[in-house]
């Protein structure tokens, strides 16, 4: 058995799109289960009262990362055929900063605004209209900012390649960082709950 299945030709383009649809259903389901259809729940991360964003995000990253790492180690997944986002360092950092500001101002990110919309949040619909407007502005400005948007292009470079260490070491460090982060998040939440009068 060789994976990624689609890249090895186990199924064609039509099944690829059906797989995308099915994966989307599961993605949306777990986002909503986690409470990410709620802007108040999401933004509480930035006031330290509910660190669910960090907890969910990092347990997801760790789960998928360990899965990919072990499956490639056992020779099931060919890592060279898995898409790794190419790095454009400065535009990505600038975009991340804008996106983080948009997150706390608007209350959602693109994926979570979709599950918020599907559970009835009117503000999520307006937020999505804002995303479309933002993308249109970006698209219209693209000829002028194309140089910056494609600057500091480092190609598909991973953390372990950049640091010159093994993938296993970075995987271990990410797991360690996540576990320490989970512990820290629970301490902060408890402190703030005590300060607020013991109501959890």
């Amino acid at each position: 058995m060789n994976a990624p299945f689609y890249k090895y030709g186990y199924f064609g383009d039509e099944l690829y799109l059906i797989a995308a649809f099915a994966i989307g259903i599961a993605f949306g389901f777990f986002l909503e289960r986690a409470g990410f259809g709620s802007a108040k729940k999401l933004t509480a991360q930035f006031y330290f009262t509910d660190m669910a964003v960090f907890k969910v995000m990092f347990s997801a990253i760790v789960t998928a990362m360990l899965g990919v790492f072990y499956l490639s180690w056992f020779g099931v997944v060919d890592l060279d055929l898995v898409f790794v986002n190419p790095t454009y360092l400065v535009p990505q950092m600038t975009g991340g900063l804008l996106l983080g500001m948009g997150f706390i101002i608007g209350g959602y990110c693109p994926g979570t605004s979709l599950v918020a919309l599907s559970t009835g949040k009117v503000d999520a619909l307006v937020f999505l209209a804002g995303i479309v407007a933002g993308i249109f502005v970006f698209g219209e400005a693209y000829p002028a900012i194309e140089g910056f948007a494609s600057s500091t292009a480092l190609g598909t470079v991973t953390l372990h390649e950049a640091l010159g260490v093994s993938m296993g070491l970075v995987v271990f460090a990410v797991v360690l960082m996540a576990v320490l982060g989970f512990w820290g998040a629970s301490v902060v939440e408890r402190r703030l709950a005590e300060k607020a009068g013991g109501a959890v």
């Binding site: 299945f5 689609y6 890249k7 690829y16 799109l17 994966i23 989307g24 259903i25 599961a26 389901f29 777990f30 909503e32 289960r33 986690a34 259809g37 108040k40 729940k41 509480a44 669910a52 969910v56 347990s59 997801a60 998928a64 899965g67 990919v68 997944v77 898995v82 986002n85 190419p86 790095t87 990505q92 600038t94 991340g96 804008l98 996106l99 983080g100 500001m101 997150f103 706390i104 608007g106 959602y108 990110c109 693109p110 994926g111 979570t112 605004s113 979709l114 918020a116 009835g120 209209a129 804002g130 995303i131 407007a133 933002g134 993308i135 970006f138 698209g139 948007a149 480092l154 953390l159």
Partner: protein
């Protein structure tokens, strides 16, 4: 937990949210399934780029044709821009979110906001935040799902730099919009 109380006040008692670690493991397994089955991760903002590019192309084809950003999305997909991974995935996200919300009794038409802001103010900030996010996500070539989650799990350097800056931006701005939420 405020949102739960708020909903409860409206009548039916919604189910509590899932344990964040369990929900995260669930999301991680979905992401892993995507890597194994199709060789790519999740996303969201790209589907909206396809929508915008298609609209511009329908209204002003010559204008869209000269723009490499729009062209990239117009030539994506199997024969039609909408026959692409992210458009199908995003359609699924809407349905999956609805299913989970319906099963938990969390479907309710509401403008989510803190006690110290009006509906108009909240909707204005939602639009502004969305617009900033639209620009940011395109500049970063992905959003929280495409970059932070998917790129993070395959340890892409740029995705981790992006993720750190998302938290920096959020925490830096949080104080100024606190009246919206708290």
């Amino acid at each position: 937990m405020t949102s739960v109380e708020e909903y409860a006040a409206g009548g039916r008692q919604p189910a509590p949210f899932m344990n964040p670690y369990l929900a995260g493991i669930g999301l991680g397994l979905v992401l892993l399934t995507a890597f194994v089955a199709v060789g790519r991760g999740l996303g969201a903002s790209g589907a909206f780029s396809t929508l915008v590019a298609s609209c511009v192309n329908a209204l002003a084809p010559a204008h869209a044709e000269g723009n490499t950003f729009y062209e990239g999305y117009l030539h994506n997909g199997f024969g039609h821009p909408f026959k692409s991974f992210l458009v199908f995935e995003v359609a699924g996200v809407l349905i999956g979110g609805f299913l989970s919300g319906a099963l938990a009794g969390r479907l309710k038409k509401v403008v989510e906001r803190g006690p110290r802001i009006g509906v108009g103010g909240r909707l204005g900030l939602a639009f502004l935040g969305g617009a900033l996010m639209g620009v940011g996500a395109k500049l970063a070539r992905g959003c929280t799902s495409g970059q932070a989650l998917s790129g993070g799990a395959v340890l892409a350097l740029g995705s981790w730099a992006f993720m750190i800056m998302v938290f920096v931006g959020g925490y830096a701005m949080a104080y100024f919009v606190r009246r919206q939420w708290r």
